[in-house]
Symmetry: C2
Subunit: 402 residues, 2 copies
Amino acid sequence: MVPGMDEPIIRTVSRGVNQSGVRDHNVRLLLTLLQRHGPMAGSDLARLANLSPQTVSIILREMESEGLLARGAPVKGKVGKPSIPMRLAEGGVLSLGCKIGRRSAVLLLADFRGTVRQELRLTYHYPMPEPIFAFLRDGIKTILSKCSPAERSRICGIGIGTPFELWKWSELVDAPAKDFASWRHVDYQAELARFTDLPVQVVNDATAGCQAEHIYGRGKEFRDYAYFFIGAFVGGGIVLNHSVYQGHLGNAGALGSLRSFGPQGESQQLIDTASIHLLEARLAENGHDPRDLWTQPQDWSGFSRLVDPWIGQTAQELAKASLSVCAVIDFEAILIDGAFPDAVKHELVERTRRYLINQDMRGLIAPQIEAGVVGFNARAIGAATSPLFERYFLNGNLRLQS
Amino acid sequence: MVPGMDEPIIRTVSRGVNQSGVRDHNVRLLLTLLQRHGPMAGSDLARLANLSPQTVSIILREMESEGLLARGAPVKGKVGKPSIPMRLAEGGVLSLGCKIGRRSAVLLLADFRGTVRQELRLTYHYPMPEPIFAFLRDGIKTILSKCSPAERSRICGIGIGTPFELWKWSELVDAPAKDFASWRHVDYQAELARFTDLPVQVVNDATAGCQAEHIYGRGKEFRDYAYFFIGAFVGGGIVLNHSVYQGHLGNAGALGSLRSFGPQGESQQLIDTASIHLLEARLAENGHDPRDLWTQPQDWSGFSRLVDPWIGQTAQELAKASLSVCAVIDFEAILIDGAFPDAVKHELVERTRRYLINQDMRGLIAPQIEAGVVGFNARAIGAATSPLFERYFLNGNLRLQS
DNA sequence: AATAAATAAATAAATTAGATTTACATATTG
DNA sequence: CAATATGTAAATCTAATTTATTTATTTATT
């Protein structure tokens, strides 16, 4: 049995549970544990999940026969019968992810375990619906044509990571406001349904990044944390109880909208004080081509004179923002990632830590500041995880109302 | 069967579910639905909970025989057999709640439905462990002595609402720092165990207020909201998915620690800019006795000249704070309550709404600003709800690790 | 080195809990 | 009296646990 056929268990407080709901939950639980902890024997899973070995055995054999799980080499060296570690099968499940960004859109095919198998990119001056949907239509076709029939049948859906209220961005991206307004009534589900039967999930782009970090990066280490993704515009996501929390309208973790203060004490938002578009502007003022930031994502050493003060400012803002979010939820950690070279990321994290200790922390528990590891493509990879959570993994927190 | 005997279902993501877990969940679900929606027939519960009428029938009869539920008068006037609405039995479950505050501690006995049956108060210049534990010991004895044996057996626990890291308060309450440090190693469970066998839950005081508003007040109306309780020091609580979220160390909703800015742009916290202690100070400066605020909780009209500007400042701070919290979670609403007269509360809510619309709301969804209805005693009443959630109600979000 | 004992894993068979389904008695309206 | 909805009894079904068995290995003993 594959989970996700019935409505999953306990998605709202007002849902009773019956036997098939129990099975669905336990199947998802075992998949989630294997995802989170890596390959494991049934006996270990039974202990972790607090289920009887028999129950685990039955579920594992079923999932194995469906090709979701694969068995590893028996582990010897301990007293007793050798254990057989089970793992998520490499190609057991595939999914598509798309990120719509300031400068480019990405479409990719990823597997169960976060490996990107194919990737396509569209760049533009600013995003508009028509070219993006054309890119998706052609891109999906291209990607599917390179898959075997078996692989195609294992693609479980497509996730779209997109900024919240994109139609309000026209002045930020200096696009004609009138054209840009067409984003307002875009219905991704309906548009995608014109050329694919795959289930479609829409998720905030930075929240998608958070999902990627959560399952493939350092997210597993923490129960509750906030995630910053520094792109052209900064955004965020939050995790509670080991689950990404999207919020009732999908706008939880809108960390770009955190209040900040300009040099004259005027009210600003984090998006105005800690985003890469500020660095782009500085580059342009200094006669560089700001597009170099995007075409040379692994090496910004050519602009270090400008990058360095930008890191300083951004770190200061992130330190203040980190404490603001910790007043709402007592996050264990703050993860920072973005569309920049690793060296920049680590410098940013280091400086944020230093600024943090000078802040007023009365009544708060200091969070750990850590660097994310997924990096550049986090938003598209994370978008691809949405269909996985929908069908295979446990997500303690509710989905969006849809 | 009474729920809560086994570990309740799905408290962490890594918990498997078996039949007894299912029953426990469904029992709690029905109790929670009756709590939230009021008396209801089994057939309605079955529809709401998505359970078969048979299952609901069995569970209801069992809970009725245990005295947790009572049947109402048959409802006629519709086609078909009249339905019998079931309700939480008035005295079905009782619990104790204690709030430890700046100026006073309160101990009360409440029932399943939020009605306070007995209430005791201790006032002090500043809180210290020894007198408070003596008050609890004697108070519990007094309260129990006024209960019938049947009532005593129905008391399911005691909840303690206390500020976070009380030992750091010495300068705020001008107490000798040395004495005050004794709070640091206080173990409520151990202290209470010396004179009572009741299970003890410890919860942040403002979060307790939030729990009270959540089940007895306006909390039911919203899926996600933040709650401010304006006491001597402002505090808060948050609700996600219709459940109070305490956070992994019990410090979620530490809204008093939200960053704010003083007149010279210096960094402050909300606790410094939106608390009743500011008003106390103004009263003292103007020759009034600040204790009048606490002894005349329903009438502050004597100090309106001083109260009015305090309301203005507080409203402004709350408006800014409201947007800060909505950048972390897309709360539907902000609920405001406090230890002040209703007239003050409503003026504060009204002005907060007005300030809100002048704020920078890019990227955010404007929350509703609403007044809480539980008022003054919210923290103690809410503390008393902790044992109820522990044993009888569903709480989608995790409890503290303990 | 050979062998027995201990141990842990995995699973088959029997049992059990608790849900659903089906059937029916009941009380009411129209 | 027909229609309808509630509420419950009996039978059925699902998926868990418990108990018992097989198997592969390490460890201790001879």
